[in-house]
């Protein structure tokens, strides 16, 4: 589900500078989210793994931070 929710957030927020904060509890996401980002040509950073996993995700080439969206 995190991948699907992220995809929906990406399609709903098409602004190039959008930054997405993704929080998840499933350890599988540690590999899945980077794999998804690589395939979708997105940049990502792992912010934390405890008490839950949190990723920051943004579109390649956008350096400025804009709105955020968590899912």
């Amino acid at each position: 589900m995190p991948v699907i929710k992220l995809k929906k957030a990406l399609t709903q927020n098409t602004a190039k500078e959008s930054v997405f904060l993704l929080a998840l509890t499933d350890d599988g996401g540690l590999k899945d989210i980077p794999a998804f980002c690589q395939q979708q040509k997105l940049e990502w950073a792992l912010l934390q793994t405890q008490p839950f996993i949190e990723f920051k995700i943004w579109r390649k080439g956008s350096l400025e931070e804009g709105g955020d969206k968590s899912g």
Binding site: M1, V3, I4, K7, T25, D26, F36, Q39, Q40
Partner: protein
Amino acid sequence: MDDSSTEQLSIIHTKGTLDWAYPVFILASTAAAMDKKVELFFTFYGLNCLLKDTSGLKVSPLGNPGMVMKSPVGPDWLKKVDWNRALPGLVWTLPGAAKLATWGFKKQMLMEGQVPVEELRALCLELGVSMTACQMTIDLMGYKQTDFIEPISFSGAATYFANTPKTQSLFI
């Protein structure tokens, strides 16, 4: 269907139980989210997954030795017990056992952050997954096209193969 370089996934689904519906819709929705063109073909008992009325989608440990059946409620020691291993198979023939197992399975899936199967199915359609019901099996089993959700298409195996010539296929 275009024969461009679009990556494709196709799943032929033949199982009519709730536990097997999930992996199909999860794989399909994930692949669609990753911009793959996804084609699902439902035949035989798999047609259950496309019916408007999903009450026929159940799960039972009976004849399903791989199923892990744990209580979604109760103290921690109780939640750890795999009842499919702990109890003799005969227990699952008792009236209400499938109902109990289905209830537990649904609750467990929701606790894992999954959504009900109807929602997951709608999500697949929303993401552009195309679904086809096997017309021959519909006739065989006495269903009507109006029994099924929309939008899906109805055709036979030949149409399906003609539409998915270069596709990676899974048979479930």
